[in-house]
């Protein structure tokens, strides 16, 4: 084992939650983008049905991925039984 000082737990915890935050921003950004394209298509009457059709599939997939990420972060970081 190294005899170097370990990183302060607070810093580690902050980075870990920042990672979860980055996941929310990333997936939230993609969903916002998809909604923006639907609004644009709707506003221009430019076949909005195609946009809505794709988004009906894509948005739930991205939300499920975000759900898995948050479940793992919450489940692992929230467990204090082994410490």
């Amino acid at each position: 084992m190294s005899d170097r000082r370990p990183a302060p737990p607070r810093v580690v915890r902050a980075i870990q939650w920042a990672m979860a935050g980055a996941a929310i921003v990333f997936i939230g950004g993609i969903i916002t983008w998809i909604i923006h394209l639907i609004r644009t298509a709707w506003g221009l009457r430019d076949v909005p049905s195609a946009s809505i059709g794709i988004s009906l599939v894509a948005i739930p997939v991205f939300l499920t991925l975000l759900g898995v990420i948050l479940y793992v972060f919450w489940g692992l970081l929230g467990d204090r039984s082994g410490r």
């Binding site: 084992m1 076949v47 988004s55 467990d79 410490r83």
Partner: protein, 451 residues
């Protein structure tokens, strides 16, 4: 604390703990190719796409071929790993990580090809601001984003226990491993959370992977171009993707087996099973190719026939017949008898398939554009040093990313190997007993409960 690595698995940590001269030589060599690619790209950025062989009517060449090829290879990972995990195939344990890494790396490289093909990468902002969802190109962007996100997650989740081992044992890059281990201690609750998340991802990633390559095929089949407008392009592309993915996985396994001395983990039996999968996919690929070309030929539509004959006996015949040789004849000859020299035969077949599948992507993209339905003039595509450089750089970048990954994380899942030793053997025995008919003979009580 997470349990430290079993001393029997020290081989798996050795590449992370020590770096030999071979690593630096490999990085140096790959960097040369990447430099060539960087110079080529800079030239293209500076002078425009005119320095490439792309022109009217052939506006898609090596870049789009590489895009389809790399996205295809990405199916190695997640799809094969997920299917083996869900079917509880015990022989998966040493190979899933390598497969998952391939997926993530090639998705980055594949998506990058589109930016290169754009010529003006800043114009990608127009797609974000004004994209139209009735274009299959945008379906691609969406599905690849979903696949990349899912693949990164599916790679990362099973790595968490291994990262905890590195955190506790390695004594270097402590902050990185501590952050990424997410406080893993191996408690019952954490294991339950992780196993559930991996199971959800394994189920989710399969339809996403299938949709990605179907959507890649739609970029071609949704047009009315000769030999592109085909209803079987979706499954044809998916089959080709899995085919090339298995080949890429086998090559990666053999390279790292040799480089890191992993013979005890990657045994001939693994190559035999993967070789059999490759053989099945070769036959399936041949079936789809035959069906696709026979249907086109039987229809005899003049524009289709121009492309058909350009491939069969026209200027593209070396690529077409090279593809048939490399994707069907050589793999079948290598793989039909795997008694002796299994690893060598499987490697030869895999290398052949990789070449053949790249040719297949080329033969789909370019001949149709050379003989367009619209009244453009016909044209032949000759790539310049720019495209060759970018292609060499892309392959080298993939290899370098992979190599760097193996210096940071175990390329074989340590905890899954340990789980196999401690739980898997017993679990398989009980599972086999549960499959068999009851004969009235006494069976272990545990097995009866499971049934």
């Amino acid at each position: 604390m997470a349990e430290p690595a079993d001393h029997r698995d020290a081989t798996l940590l050795a590449p992370i703990e020590r770096t030999g001269p071979g690593f630096y030589w490999a990085v140096g060599l790959l960097s040369l190719f990447i430099l060539w690619g960087a110079i080529a790209y800079w030239t293209q950025l500076d002078e425009g796409l005119g320095v490439t062989g792309l022109h009217q009517p052939v506006s898609w060449g090596f870049y789009v071929t590489n895009f389809v090829f790399f996205i295809g290879i990405s199916h190695a990972g997640t799809l094969i790993s997920a299917i083996l995990r869900l079917s509880r195939a015990e022989w998966r344990r040493p190979i899933t990580r390598m497969a998952e890494v391939i997926t993530v790396m090639v998705l980055f490289i594949g998506a990058g090809q589109i930016l290169v093909d754009l010529g003006r990468p800043d114009r990608v902002l127009n797609v974000i601001r004004y994209g139209r969802y009735q274009s299959p190109l945008l379906w691609d962007a969406t599905s690849i984003s979903a696949y990349l996100t899912a693949s990164i997650l599916y790679l990362y989740l099973p790595m968490i226990p291994d990262i905890a081992i590195l955190r506790d044992r390695l004594g270097k890059r402590e902050l990185l491993y501590t952050v990424l281990a997410l406080g893993w201690t191996g408690s019952a609750r954490q294991q339950k959370v992780l196993n559930r998340a991996i199971a959800v991802m394994a189920v989710l990633v399969i339809p996403i992977a299938v949709s990605v390559h179907s959507v890649v095929s739609f970029v071609f089949s949704m047009t009315l171009q000769p030999m592109w407008h085909s209803t079987i392009f979706g499954p044809y592309f998916v089959v080709g993707a899995i085919f090339s993915g298995i080949a890429a996985l086998i090559v990666a396994m053999i390279v790292f087996r040799k480089a890191y001395g992993l013979e005890a983990y990657l045994k001939p039996i693994h190559f035999r099973y993967l070789g059999q999968l490759l053989l099945v996919m070769s036959l399936l690929w041949f079936y789809f190719t035959f069906a696709e070309y026979l249907t086109g030929y039987y229809g005899g539509e003049p524009e289709e026939m121009k492309v058909f004959w350009a491939k069969f006996s026209g200027p593209f015949w070396p690529f077409f017949w090279g593809m048939a040789l490399a994707n069907f004849v050589i793999p079948v000859l290598c793989l039909m008898r795997l008694g002796r020299r299994t690893v060598g035969k499987v490697l030869a077949a895999s290398l052949s398939v990789l070449v053949g599948m790249w040719l297949e992507r080329f033969i789909i993209v370019v001949p149709t554009l050379s003989n367009p339905r619209l009244p453009f003039g016909e044209g032949i595509y000759w790539p310049t040093w720019v495209e060759w450089g970018e292609t060499a750089g892309s392959f080298a970048l993939f290899a370098l990313f992979y190599l760097l990954f193996t210096k940071l994380f175990p390329v074989i899942s340590i905890w899954e190997i340990r789980e196999g030793r401690e739980v898997g053997v017993k679990e398989v025995e009980e599972r086999v007993v549960s499959y068999l008919p009851d004969t009235g003979e006494p069976v272990p009580a545990e097995s009866v409960r499971r049934r």
